[in-house]
């Protein structure tokens, strides 16, 4: 199963339409969360919003998670060890209020298990061989431990060093 989600803040019809067209040609179950999108898919099982349990369960069950380039979904995908393909919203196409997803997608793709597909062609190429999409278990939490340790000490002592 492929799970597709676009976040809750804005629709992302370009991604949903791309996935709907893809699903017409392939025999693979696709489930999508489409938010307030105007485009209504014909070939995939869609809902506008999902409750958090269903949402997380879909990420867990999916062989691949296809998403807007949102941090929340990337973090969740890594928690469930599901490879994720991200398409960035483009400011130029009126898909976000600024272009930070275009800046972000470059470093996101350096994370294990995160694949960037800014365009339909790149998305279809990645989907043509989903077995090649791998994620190494993200046990490395050094940066998070560092941040939390620092914050804890700051809260207790008020000192930055």
């Amino acid at each position: 199963m492929i799970f597709v989600a676009v976040g809750t803040q804005f629709p992302f019809d370009r991604l949903i339409e791309n996935m709907d067209q893809w699903a017409a040609d392939y025999d693979e179950e696709v489930i999508a969360q489409i938010a307030d999108g105007e485009y209504l898919p014909k070939n995939i099982n869609w809902q506008r919003f999902l409750d958090p349990e269903q949402y997380n369960n879909n990420i867990k069950q999916a062989s691949v998670f296809v998403s807007h380039a949102g941090m929340g979904n990337i973090i969740s995908a890594r928690q469930h060890n599901t490879p994720i393909i991200v398409m960035n919203r483009q400011f130029e196409l009126g898909e976000h209020r600024n272009n930070h997803q275009a800046d972000g997608i470059k470093w996101m793709a350096e994370l294990s298990g995160v694949y960037a597909a800014p365009t339909q062609a790149e998305l279809y190429t990645l989907l043509s061989n989903t077995k090649a999409l791998q994620i190494s278990s993200s046990t490395e939490n050094k940066k998070l431990d560092q941040l939390v340790g620092f914050l804890g000490d700051y809260i207790q002592t008020g000192s930055i060093n």
Binding site: G7, T8, Q9, D51, P52, E53, G70, M71, G72, N73, I74, I75, S76, R78, R97, N98, H100, Q101, D103, G104, K106, W107, L111, K142, K143, L144, D145, Q146, L147, V148, F150, L151, G152, Y154, I155, Q156, G158, I160
Partner: protein
């Protein structure tokens, strides 16, 4: 037994909330953490059943009028909970909380979202001069005077 220091953690839904959780899940070992976020949906999650989560109105740069109820709700939560420190990963509700705490004896920590790679977020820029501690998750964006880098959620 000594009472744990209380923290109020505030964020918008989505990626902001997920980053806040990554950080606060671990801070819960050391502190008493209560949360404020828009969307009652988080209450249904079993994982967070034991948590105290205040539902607040959703407000963003696109819904400026909602900043008024959010500010009043935050003030009421601050009075009721009397936290020692607040933490926010953004966006608009966190800005309002930082500004409110300027007038209260409450420490404020702003953690700019990891999604902002090249420049501080718009809300981060708004609180830069007002929060006691401003953290970026990108080393390149820190100046070690007003904006600090000390790790990240990923």
């Amino acid at each position: 037994m000594r009472k744990k220091t209380k923290i109020l953690a505030i964020s918008s839904p989505g990626g902001h909330w997920i980053q806040l959780n990554k950080i606060c899940n671990q801070l819960e070992d050391r502190f008493d953490v209560v949360y404020a976020t828009p969307g009652a949906q988080y209450k249904s999650s079993t994982q967070q059943a034991k948590r105290k989560v205040y539902a607040i109105t959703d407000a963003s740069a696109d819904s400026k009028l909602n900043l008024i109820p959010v500010t009043l709700q935050l003030l009421s939560i601050l009075i009721r909970e009397r936290p020692n420190t607040i933490i926010s990963t953004g966006a608009a509700p966190g800005v309002m909380a930082v500004l409110l705490c300027k007038f209260l004896p409450i420490k404020t920590i702003w953690i700019d979202s990891i999604a902002n790679v090249k420049v501080l977020s718009r809300s981060g820029k708004m609180v830069k001069k007002h929060a006691n501690l401003v953290i970026t998750q990108w080393e390149e964006l820190s100046d070690e005077k007003t904006i600090f880098y000390r790790g990240s959620v990923l």
